[in-house]
């Protein structure tokens, strides 16, 4: 059996890591898409114009920062936004970022 995909617990999440994870146009695009798909999605379906390995890197950065949760489903990986954790830790931060028009 494969090892479970590691995630920081809510109390392990650090604001600098969250901000760094969000401070990238591709990752911000992924976060916007996940915010619009509460049920989660396989980020590979997004047309981001990047290679699979670059996408893997970005999703890992988001996961390790505590911004997204990734779970296996069949041969793909489904990402969801950790909105409850982020809203509890940093009320308003995520909505403020999502409100950004640029």
């Amino acid at each position: 059996m494969a090892s479970p995909i590691p995630h920081p617990e809510r109390e392990e999440i650090r604001v600098e890591a969250v901000l760094h994870a969000l401070a990238d146009p591709v990752r911000l695009r992924i976060v916007r898409e996940l915010a619009a798909h509460e049920e989660g999605l396989s980020c590979g379906v997004l047309d981001l114009g990047i290679t699979a390995s670059t996408l893997t890197h970005h999703v890992r950065t988001l996961r390790e920062a505590g911004v997204v949760r990734v779970r296996p489903r069949g041969t793909s990986r489904i990402s969801t936004l950790r909105r409850a954790d982020l809203d509890a830790l940093y009320p308003g931060l995520l909505d403020g970022v999502l409100a950004a028009r640029r």
Copy 2:
């Protein structure tokens, strides 16, 4: 006469630059101090444990991102948080970041 210190206009501020500027422990510390001092302060008075040139770099990063406004006063420079601009562009973001306990 010295050139005025340049700042992005509100409409030039970009969320990635703001997030990047905030995603650093020293800069976040500066932002917290400025949030507590609405009248602004000379960042040199803060005990940040960094050299003057490193401080200059951090304040420039915050200024160029649109997070702080810097104005000369005598021989020092007074920084203030651009709260109205940030709250208008990204409602909740700054409060969420300031709410962070880690």
